[in-house]
Structures are given as structure tokens and as C-alpha cells.
Symmetry: C2
Subunit: 158 residues, 2 copies
Amino acid sequence: MKLSTKGRYAVMAMVDLARHAQTKPVSLSDIAARQEISLSYLEQLFARLRRAELVKSVRGPGGGYRLARGSAETRVSEIILAVDEPITATRCTEMGQAGCRADRSKCLTHDLWEELGNQIHVFLSSVTLYDVLERKLSTHIAEAPPAPANSDSMAAAS
Amino acid sequence: MKLSTKGRYAVMAMVDLARHAQTKPVSLSDIAARQEISLSYLEQLFARLRRAELVKSVRGPGGGYRLARGSAETRVSEIILAVDEPITATRCTEMGQAGCRADRSKCLTHDLWEELGNQIHVFLSSVTLYDVLERKLSTHIAEAPPAPANSDSMAAAS
DNA sequence: ATTAAATCCGAGTGGACTGGTTGGTTTTTC
DNA sequence: GAAAAACCAACCAGTCCACTCGGATTTAAT
């Protein structure tokens, strides 16, 4: 799973949509204004979200977008996968299959990246739009490992 | 924490170094040949790794690099932080402090990205070079969440 | 002393990706 | 018919990545 700002914009927009979708569909210009994302860029993102069947569109005046499913049934991982198509990892041409399997010593880190991908996916799959809105983040997953030495600084995932 | 291919190259190189550092220091041209990374690019990466005091250099013929600490005392998170300087997250100008704290509704996803950053950091901090070499990845951290709906596809983290 | 192996250093570069713009067209409501 | 909205296709400036090039310094071996 690729993690880029594009995916984050999409999640921001979807959270905004989930928040403001009561009865009427929500127009992209509303989301653009609230989230300070350019309208045309949002259009590109929502074209992908629509193809992934995460949202439904209503055309014409008073139209806009609705969530295809409920906010509690839409997981963050799905949004990111929809806009940020996977892309192949560094060497190992694709995760499980051929390529890297050949020369074992050259891809010692293969398992590491695969496991990291699992971690990220598990986490983002465990969070729905509803969770984000209600601030019910499941912090239950990880508990601090032994981690003996000095604590190095933390930053945003990009 | 930023996740890019640069960080992955650095980890690949450091694992290679840990593997081949017996008595002699390991030259970058050896690592470049084994890992198929350009020598000059490796030089840039190791300049950062040296400044971060993760490796020590020995100049002159027969020289090269050594791990500054043992492979079991060098965590993957440190390597990535050394080469891939953090960079500020999307909106929220920096994680904890000012900026995004002001307009709460605009940054509903703040907590999500912060928690994701925590997850990634915890995982990468729990893995040392020794673990990667010995293939002792600590998969103990995450256990599958409820995850009711269909399982969407998995891919590499980038 | 020379040579050569290696680390160091800084500048530059092609390509990819980001975030956005422009300029439309269709659909639909009023 | 006017206007609001989704749609769509191209294009673009900036940035970063992975890499190259051309050196310089240090030092071991001859």
C-alpha cells in the first residue's frame, strides 16, 4: 500500500463527506471550500473513488456525492487503495511472486517490507470513516515493544 | 516518519553491511555490487548514516564502513530517520504542535495520521538489523481486527 | 615516493509524481 | 433557457528521487 499525500487528501475529503452527508448529496465545491483542496483536484480523486464504488454521484444542480455504503462500512484502507494504486515495491518486482524470490541474499529485507505492509494495512483496515469522525481510533493494536535504548523522534508518515 | 525507496535502499545496504562485517570494514563498492545500488548514491546515504552515528568509516585502501553499534543494537527506524529526514505532514504543519490545532474540523484526520505514524514507528523500532538477518521478524505486534467485510488486496508500503 | 583504494564532497540531471489549471461537455433542476 | 453541478482530457510548474560526474582527500601497499 502506497502512502502519499494524495491518499491523505482523499481520506480528508471522504471524512468531510461522511460528516456532511445527511439527506442531500454533498457537492465537491463545498468540500473544496471546507478542506481547502482545489476543486479540479478533488474531481480527479472522486472519479477514482466512484470507480471503486466508494461513493455515488448525483448530477445536476443540487447534486453531489454520497457515500456508497455507510461511514462505518467504509474503511480507510479502501480509500487509499482506490486513489493511490499500489505500485511495485523497490526491488522485488511484486510482493509475493517471482522476481525477488530468485536471489535470496539480494532481498534480505523482503520480509521486512512485507511485514510492514501488513502492519499498515491491518491498521488502516481497522479504521472506518465513522471511527475517524467519532475519534474512536483503535489504539488497541500495538503495545510498546521492549525498546531498550534511547527513544528516537517521531514524525508523520509520508 | 517518511517511507520512501531511499529509506529502503539504506536499510538494504545496512543489512548487507551487518551481514558482511566480520573483521575488515566493508567497502561501499562491495555493497554496491551485491545490492545493485550505484556507488555514488550509496556514498550519499552513508554520509547521512555516518552523521547519525550509525556507522563508522575507515579511509584509505582496505577501508570501508563498520556498524557503530552491534547489529542487534541498530534499529530499522533509526536508519530510515537518518536518511529520510522527517518532512512535515500534509496540512497540520507539524505533528503535535501549532498549526492544525487551531481549526479542529479542518483536520479531522490528524489523529489518524498521527496514530498511523505511531504504528509504523513502533513496528520499525521493534526490528533490528540482527532480526532482519536472522529473519526473526516480530509479527507478534498486530493481531487481525474484527474486519467484517471483504478483504481488499494487499501491496507493498511505499 | 608512487600508486591505487577507498572515503569524502558538491554540483547537476532526467524522469516521475504532485497538486493544480484550463477549457470544455454533459446532465439535470429551477 | 439559465445555472449548477458532475464529468473529462489535456497540460503544466515545481519538487523529489535516484543517479551521474568530476573531483578532493586520506592512507595502505608496493
